[in-house]
């Protein structure tokens, strides 16, 4: 990695940690959410510098979308004026702080004391192609397991958060010809 790349990497690392800390520091829900988005974008760019093109970009893609949705939930559920208003919604602040610091100390000790192998092996020629091949050949089981998990998540998420089921839409005997929706959809179901 070149010197510029190295400097860039450290700037991104600092950005990731500081904006991560800002999530619990700033007084605005929108700012907190987008601070987290910046933290993810920084880590995604770091992955790009570490030659993991596909994963870096996919991290940015997913997390920006996720934070855009997250902001909506934040504002929907916090139930207070979301403009720049001081807020403190924490419990066990001291205990949490101590736990976090102890965790960091333990992790740091582990990181610094472990004898890591030195010398970086050369990465595979085309990382994205290699990943695709791995996913479709030896590691296919991972994808096969993930897909039913995703489907189960969609079903469970919808059924948990649904507030109008089919009995509300089609009547108690499910005999209503057209669904009774407060806002009809676009395909005329």
């Amino acid at each position: 990695m070149t010197l510029i790349g190295e400097v860039f990497f450290w700037v991104l690392g600092a950005t990731a940690v500081l904006s991560g800390a800002a999530v619990f520091w700033v007084n605005s829900m929108a700012r907190a959410t987008y601070a987290l988005a910046i933290s993810f974008v920084a880590v995604g760019l770091q992955l790009l510098l570490l030659d993991q093109a596909y994963l870096g970009v996919i991290t940015i893609l997913m997390m920006v979308m996720e934070m855009a949705v997250m902001a909506v939930y934040m504002i929907m559920f916090m139930g207070m004026n979301p403009a720049l208003m001081p807020m403190s919604m924490v419990h066990d602040k001291r205990l949490s702080l101590v736990t976090a610091l102890v965790t960091f100390a333990l992790l740091a000790a582990g990181i610094l004391l472990t004898p890591w192998p030195s010398g970086r092996p050369a990465p595979t020629e085309d990382v994205t192609v290699a990943l695709g091949m791995a996913l479709m050949e030896p590691k296919m089981l991972a994808m096969i397991v993930l897909s039913p998990v995703m489907v189960a998540t969609i079903v469970a998420g919808v059924s948990l958060s649904l507030h109008r089921g089919r009995y509300d839409r089609y009547g108690d005997d499910l005999e209503r010809a057209a669904a009774d929706d407060p806002q009809p959809g676009g395909v005329g179901r």
Binding site: V43, Q46, D51, M70, V127, L135, T153, I154
Partner: protein, 100 residues
């Protein structure tokens, strides 16, 4: 740039996330803490891949972590919606039926 240094950044991200996940009272903020912890995990896994073993298996692990984050977010939002509908707020302290 060394492996130790990148892992220290990842550990810092993880610890900040842990602080948030424990201390926040609102479900969505707790989720943000969890996401930040996983962000640290992503960076650490990426660094391990680059420094120790640049073969596809490590990347599959990263993909699984990202998938775990989506599941966490989807279920978290569903539960937050449910708790908010039942109680009018989504504070974790109010959802304590299972606590003796």
């Amino acid at each position: 740039m060394t492996l130790e240094a990148v892992l220290l950044i990842a550990a810092a991200l993880f610890s900040v996330g842990l602080y948030g996940a424990i201390s926040q009272q609102v479900v969505v903020m707790v989720m943000m803490g969890l996401e930040l912890m996983l962000n640290g995990v992503i960076l650490a896994a990426g660094a391990f891949w680059w420094f120790l073993s640049p073969e596809p298996t490590g990347q599959v692990l990263l993909l699984v972590v990202i998938a775990a984050m989506t599941v966490e977010m989807a279920m978290g939002f569903a539960v937050a919606t449910l708790v908010h509908r039942a109680r009018g707020s989504d504070m974790t302290d109010s959802a304590s039926e299972l606590k003796r």
